[in-house]
Subunit: 357 residues, 4 copies
Amino acid sequence: MSGNGFGHLFRFTTFGESHGPAIGCVVEGVPPRLPLAESDIQFWLDRRRPGQSRFTTQRKEPDAVRILSGVFEGLTTGTPIGLLIENVDTRSKDYSDIKDKFRPGHADYTYWKKYGIRDYRGGGRSSARETAMRVAAGAIARKILGDSIRIRGALVQMGPHRIDREAWDWAAVEDNPFWCPDRKAAQSWKGYLDKLRKDGSSIGAVVEIVAEGVPAGLGAPVYNKLDADLASAMMGINAAKSVEIGAGLRAAELRGEENADEMRMNPDGSVRFLSNNAGGILGGISTGQDIVVRFAVKPTSSILIPRKTVTVHGEDSDILTKGRHDPCVGIRAVPIGEAMMACVLADHMMRQRAQCG
Amino acid sequence: MSGNGFGHLFRFTTFGESHGPAIGCVVEGVPPRLPLAESDIQFWLDRRRPGQSRFTTQRKEPDAVRILSGVFEGLTTGTPIGLLIENVDTRSKDYSDIKDKFRPGHADYTYWKKYGIRDYRGGGRSSARETAMRVAAGAIARKILGDSIRIRGALVQMGPHRIDREAWDWAAVEDNPFWCPDRKAAQSWKGYLDKLRKDGSSIGAVVEIVAEGVPAGLGAPVYNKLDADLASAMMGINAAKSVEIGAGLRAAELRGEENADEMRMNPDGSVRFLSNNAGGILGGISTGQDIVVRFAVKPTSSILIPRKTVTVHGEDSDILTKGRHDPCVGIRAVPIGEAMMACVLADHMMRQRAQCG
Amino acid sequence: MSGNGFGHLFRFTTFGESHGPAIGCVVEGVPPRLPLAESDIQFWLDRRRPGQSRFTTQRKEPDAVRILSGVFEGLTTGTPIGLLIENVDTRSKDYSDIKDKFRPGHADYTYWKKYGIRDYRGGGRSSARETAMRVAAGAIARKILGDSIRIRGALVQMGPHRIDREAWDWAAVEDNPFWCPDRKAAQSWKGYLDKLRKDGSSIGAVVEIVAEGVPAGLGAPVYNKLDADLASAMMGINAAKSVEIGAGLRAAELRGEENADEMRMNPDGSVRFLSNNAGGILGGISTGQDIVVRFAVKPTSSILIPRKTVTVHGEDSDILTKGRHDPCVGIRAVPIGEAMMACVLADHMMRQRAQCG
Amino acid sequence: MSGNGFGHLFRFTTFGESHGPAIGCVVEGVPPRLPLAESDIQFWLDRRRPGQSRFTTQRKEPDAVRILSGVFEGLTTGTPIGLLIENVDTRSKDYSDIKDKFRPGHADYTYWKKYGIRDYRGGGRSSARETAMRVAAGAIARKILGDSIRIRGALVQMGPHRIDREAWDWAAVEDNPFWCPDRKAAQSWKGYLDKLRKDGSSIGAVVEIVAEGVPAGLGAPVYNKLDADLASAMMGINAAKSVEIGAGLRAAELRGEENADEMRMNPDGSVRFLSNNAGGILGGISTGQDIVVRFAVKPTSSILIPRKTVTVHGEDSDILTKGRHDPCVGIRAVPIGEAMMACVLADHMMRQRAQCG
């Protein structure tokens, strides 16, 4: 396979560059007869869209998605769903600077080394613009999962500032520009991020995605474990540098009797876990508990502070990246992480049905 | 795909349960005319083999690998390489306890929920025994990578005890039973782990894998990024709960100017990075720097301390797991992480050659 | 995988229905820095376009292809190439007849049974309209193959009328509306097909595709043999009912000494085969001779002669299909077969480079 | 993927050379809790085993299969099933002749050109010995399909001698050494083949495989159509040179009104087709009729008649192949074709369940 698609039975394949004419994708394997309209997808795209607060890039994209196939009279037909978003705000700017210089921390240098050519406009294929298609695919995946599975994401750390997990309130997530579940933290992050923005700097963050209502039994050991597929999904998001499941890195510090989630029967015959260090996955298979994934996002490297770099001509140089960008790209990663979770679960739900009925 | 193979062009597919007659795998896509003998594979298997110190499980497996195909007169032929290891030390013990009870923190419950049946003997398919085949495949992957790429792993944290990174000495790694690169830390870990073992408990750990000499340009954006594939590879290792690339989780706390690795020209025309927060990967493609991956391994759940659980019959119960096991499974994860790194790199090297020549 | 893509390293994934807003595809794995313009693709689309003679459907589609990604300043970038063709001539006709009735010999019934829903307009996803995307992908595949490999197709049989193979003239293929390499046969086919068209009937045909200049060594035994992949490629073309390689079905009648192609050395040290019953493939791997594939195409089932059928409501009925259609769909299958040959070869060329350098 | 496996959800991956220590495979995706014993597989292997009459190669292989994993207490567990057959009759013969010469019509030359090395002993990987693993996988596939689907094969043509289809009697198939459904033809073939054998020659054949009871709806348009996957499956069988579905090549000669299978309602509400030119597949999806596939097998090239060839050293030479071989390899292809049909159907049944429930 050639790297532009994700998933097996539920699979999407994307194309498009930041400043090309359009981005798009093909979503395959969707079960037939699901109600699906463009507005179902647009809803999630609008959540992801940049430029909605001063804390994200000011690129103004309507991101109006068109369904080009696979839906007939409001229902999916089982054939591939073609999605397209025209790029509108590809302002003809002067690229002379980044055309010849590699921005440190960006994919400029590696695309150049890999392909010997690069579309330097707006980051080309490596731009976060591509993630709109992940969100679109995720919207369709949610249709497959149905209402009994709920997927939500939140920003749980911005720079050194962690939320107070005791203060977690899902309702708060929609009330602040950071998807922060801790109202107090959200309040303090505003000043912190304003300061960073004024400095022309940026900061990393940690995103947490939770899926509730996932039945036990999803996951294909031993190389398409549910956690391995989630790790691939989240690490593949632009700027991600770590992925954790459940207790995650902290599991390294736990003793066996602290880590293993004990079990008890519920009166109704179902099983109850007394904790969730596993993050809802054991042996690569879902336990029926909440699936909990976290991933760290590095600070954007497009900053107003000059950095040392080299040119395509092999000369030392300095660079500072002007123009619109995000002081904390982690914010925009929240809906993307949700979408990838939805896609992984939809795929595994279909795989489970195929093998185990 | 059905979850028992890893890789695309360099691909291996494994089979086998802990207490079945044998484990094995098929390694596909190996370039022809590479020298390969059973001893080349055995060398790495022996490193991984448990029971070599008092700090790993006392299961005594000779783990003698047989090459069943794909090699002729000492050279690979380009056809699939079949590998087989007979299980020897599958002592006929009494399984009556774990037969009916789910061990908390184990895959017992999830296999049961997924398949409605489970081979409970020694963990069946979910046993770490399967990882011998990853190590075997990794040995072949190293042959493909050649001598210019060097892959090494180390245990950098045991429970709360981190190594002193300033004291890192690769030579030390071979000198202690923990693959610890910090001699002083290794010394202190002995007592720590002995104590845990005597308590009948266990502890988590963090493994770090470093690949030197990897050329720039490996990785298939945007869904088979090198880091995404490594995340899948490492998270798929038994008991892994987190994966980090380069600065990893710490990237969340960095500012843009701290995180982005600056670049300078070397006198010989090559490019030099002034730091390696990226862990050798930008935009999912290798930079030419060291590839640095870390993963956390949870403590084994097979402990001598009774834990609350339920039975297959839906009753509350308690369980304690007698018999041989590892107080710190992270130790045995080191050679497995190395092997998975080798497999990912070999696959991407071939993919790169296919597309970009 | 979910059935809408073809190929491994060189891979394309299509979407779109006959009467939806557009058809499109994503072409992945294309090597970077190949010159590519829309006109390169349009050239081959124009060859395939229906309505160019009275012998093919009168649907008038400009089939103007747009490249949406993967090309920068006239060169491929190695990233996926998104292609789009808007559907224009989707005349709003009355579908009340085929809406409820299954056309015998069509996919109407099977889509209904598979998906429980179908886009009946113009055949929906099962329409030959989709094949425009195969031709487009094939145009890109030809760029990868380069000028040393030449792929050409011809119609070698129409109904019971076979060409005289002694009269084969590739130049003739471009001179008649049938891609017929035998000028005399082409002349006589005109009257034959006019008669069929007036009868409101249709007829089957046999297409032959020849690839010259293919190096020895392409093909991945034993389940992605070059011939097995070609068989999949050609049988997957709409209305195809048989695929043959080289002597094909006639090989059943040959004795060993007649069938096996003898070999001799050329003065320049290359190998010469004294015949080509193998069709250029032995053991699933190319021999260096011409690759020769033939496939039979059934007559279109959309005819003006009433046929017995049933309705979605479970009633017996009769149907005759009015409107534009092809009296011999085999004609239009020629450029599609060429395109699929190009795609298979491009994929295997890259696979060969990956494994064997 | 690297060419040694077949299928997607139900997938098997094989390894092994004709004269290596063993052949084997891994069968993935098998649903759990199916009864499976070695004898279930052995039954089909015994049918395929050569040396059972004077009309097939006299290689004497017990072909005793061992199940190494994936079965517990007589039931499949859902984990991969490892199968192994030790090679026994690999008589140490003198290979000096074929070591340096390429047998015309064999894969000798192409493996050499592809890999630059070849295991010349008994044909190495390209030997029909590998097909034992297809039969073994097919035995498991049959378990998945259950009793309502019946797959049978027959030899319908040997050289120029076709069976009388009116005389077709499935019971006859088991009664003669050719799997011939026409008792009279079988009788006459004996003399014909004895004569060929005495001449040291060989002959081609045509195999027909029929699957009854296949539900409508199987097949994944438009690139994993059921017929495209069957074409790949059958063309991938050693020595196959053509594949036909239903009317096959003869469809080229049919008019639309002759070809399209008319439909009528049965009193019980089911649909009845009045003919089966489609071979049970329309638009790549099963219709519910019998699936009918035919493939031509070329004559073996291992004959006692000297043929012109070249050596690895680039010299002209002659060769005749002594030792055991089949005068009509088509005979042994019958159970292999049945097995491949079973594997394709099992895979598509699971894919259908995954997407359409």
